[in-house]
Homo-oligomer: 434 residues x 2
């Protein structure tokens, strides 16, 4: 079994179901889909053959808003008022976080994502060099941003600029094509206009993305209007932060004009339905306005303190159902659109390829179990994927043609779980001592 | 491996975590919890020993609103306007259903429920004698009701009365203590007041439960007020149908007075958040009113045409999050209350015991994987169970001390999946021919 995890070379996925047909998929030595269909067997001399019997192939999923290392805080504090939760539980514990914690927490997050079919994620947190170590080892893709927060202080601003520059230089020096840097201004309420402008300029100069929280709560909108005389998306745009490489998370409280603005700028809106429901933000992202504006709507889980899972199959169900419920429409966000949010829209947001199973695309491939109860009967693959299955239906995961999980085995998973559990325990104990 | 599925006798679950401690659980030959703790090993001479290392024991879950055989329609039609979905898709296909279909569909449902930790369900559908065959074989508990619909027709009413009487006689004649009969008047908009009164009298005479849909949509409320001059719960009460053995599903549109009425009658309200969101009913069950009224609020999935899963771990997360979102409270329905909804409240609704892991209770026990990513770290078992885990974390399931699943193996599962898939395929083909 271990061979296929360490072996390098071309891969043939033989006799797999996709888009309603049974096909072969050929993946070349560079990890690119070389051929799909009858010609696939002849297109490559396969080093590795994966049996696709009873398997449904779908594109690998992309999680466009995470704080991966917060897996260590999973279940540490829930069911509390937001402000009390942040100030009495989350922030005090985060003050004790070390680089090692971020490494172990991000490895656990990568394991969880692989096991539920995610191949790429857009992460914002601290000690991101150590997050990069984890991503490097685990074999998936990530855009990594340092969470930039200046709270209007010029001194803090300089420190955040240095930290951002250092991370970007570090990531570029690694030269790992799976790992890219992004600039991570936290939000309009934690970052000054001066810093937002610096972030915009620096992202442009470095040709990298911007990852930001936007319009998560009504208070954010009210405060922004009170302080700057304009709504958050307009404010971001004035500071140059709404770009075709910007991923804005949450977007719950955007008004129709702000949705049009995101569409006009070609920006990406990351829908985080579980986090928004759990934290009771009182409004669901206006998907219908964003869709008609042409903005690219993708999907994200947020961190494990406010979800508490990284399973995008589950998140698709929450998205499809929350949109229907909150906007009172039985037909809003149908299954195939939810799948596109989690795959092609996510890949577009991070610039990691088309996010489809097509010739020339990176071989980011997930094989689902067609014989699971959730896929029985198989009237409609999309419906089953979104409404019936969860990450447990994922059997095999490839990223750039490399096998990260096969038949639900991920190399080293027991050690990752043991180390993350120990790191979390030690973190809580350090928190108690102070 | 097969031994433990067929063996009869006493069971010791050794060294399992529950309520924060590591204990032994002794189960006697009648399938009752004989002892928990240090004395457990001496309490019985165990025929079967289950290793509880890295396992968390929780009570078996109870699904209080299902149409189990609708697994065969999973994914057959989704993302459609409700009326079109019912009249053009669901009802025409249901017209072709046979008793065999109900048998195979219910077996698939039982398999899915066992695999996600459910040990008992409250079912309403047709050909329920065949559903009883399935439940009998699969080893879990069920309350089975024939869906009584007269649409105001006296002729139809007589037929429904005969069908109800026949099912109740059949279930009683089986003498299987795991299977009970219930009376299933479908709703106030499909059953005449005369028939509701007959159902109430018959349930009382037979000492069995009542299973009904209540206040699912605003239209149901408006139509009921227009026709009978009173809201649905008041109308049900006038017809004698609100009793301590009544399970009312949905309850989305109850007003505060109706919630108090359910509380006063000691009735049970089954919350079905996924179905309500998917069908965009535009209001979440007023859990806070029901709770303060003293009504017993339990949990249900509804059928697979409107969910499309039977996973109560997933349903708990939807319930805890929908309540927070819809009623704008970060603290409403915390994790431990969601677990009680799915366990003790469900058991109370069906009268199957306390639904807790306590001495003298039926040994309906679920063992969760403490080493799964969703349980790493393990700061808070309840939070992880509700917010992070899904049915995939369930490793072992016992019902009345009998082992239905162990280490995720259910005897005969491949055959059940194959037969259900074939039945669903044949059903759709019969539908096409007409």
């Amino acid at each position: 079994m271990n061979d296929i995890f360490t072996a390098r070379g071309s891969v043939l996925i033989a006799g797999v179901t996709t888009g309603g047909s049974t096909v072969d998929i050929a993946i070349d030595e560079e990890g690119v889909i070389a051929e799909i269909g009858k010609a696939a067997r002849k297109a490559i001399d396969a080093d590795i053959i994966i049996d696709g019997t009873d398997r449904i192939a779908v594109p690998g999923m992309v999680n466009t808003h995470t704080h991966a290392a917060m897996t260590l805080l999973r279940g540490y504090a829930d069911d509390m008022p937001l402000q009390e939760w942040l100030t009495e539980k989350i922030w005090p514990l985060e003050a004790h976080l070390t680089g090692d914690d971020v490494y172990y927490g991000t490895k656990l997050a990568c394991l969880e994502m692989i096991r539920s079919g995610t191949v790429a994620f857009n992460d914002m947190y601290f000690f991101m060099e150590r997050a990069a170590d984890a991503v490097d080892e685990m074999g998936l893709r990530a855009a990594l941003a340092y969470g930039f927060i200046d709270l209007g202080s010029a001194e803090k601003r300089e420190a955040e600029i240095r930290a951002t520059e250092a991370l970007v230089a570090h990531i570029k020096a690694r030269g790992n094509p799976r790992i890219q840097a992004a600039v991570g201004p936290h939000s309009v309420y934690t970052v000054s206009p001066e810093s937002l402008r610096w972030c915009a300029d620096f992202a442009k100069e470095q040709e990298i993305g911007i990852h930001i929280h936007l319009a998560e709560t009504e208070k954010e909108v009210d405060d922004c209007v009170a302080e700057y005389g304009r709504r958050p998306a307009v404010h971001l745009d004035e500071c140059g932060c709404l770009t075709p490489r910007t991923v804005a998370a949450h977007c719950c409280w955007l008004d129709e004009a702000e949705c049009r603005l995101l569409g006009a700028r070609g920006s990406h809106a990351s829908h985080n339905p579980v986090s928004n429901m759990k934290l009771a933000v009182n409004r669901a992202m206006p998907y219908h306005w964003l869709k008609s504006s042409g903005a690219n709507v993708c999907l994200g889980t947020d961190g494990c303190a406010s979800n508490n899972s990284l399973d995008l199959l589950e998140e698709m169900k929450f998205a499809a159902l929350l949109q229907k419920f909150a906007w009172n429409s039985q037909t809003l966000l149908p299954a195939h659109e939810a799948i596109a949010m989690a795959t092609s829209a996510g890949a577009q947001a991070l610039g990691t390829g088309p996010g489809t199973l097509t010739v020339g695309a990176p071989a980011d491939v997930v094989l689902l179990n067609a014989r699971a109860t959730c896929n029985t009967p198989l009237h409609n693959t999309d419906s089953n994927t979104v409404y019936a299955c969860n990450g447990g239906a994922v059997m095999t995961v490839l990223c750039q043609g490399r096998i990260l999980m096969h038949e639900r085995v991920v190399p080293g998973e027991e050690e990752i779980i043991r180390e993350a559990a120990a790191a979390a325990q030690a973190l809580v104990e350090r928190g108690r001592e102070t």
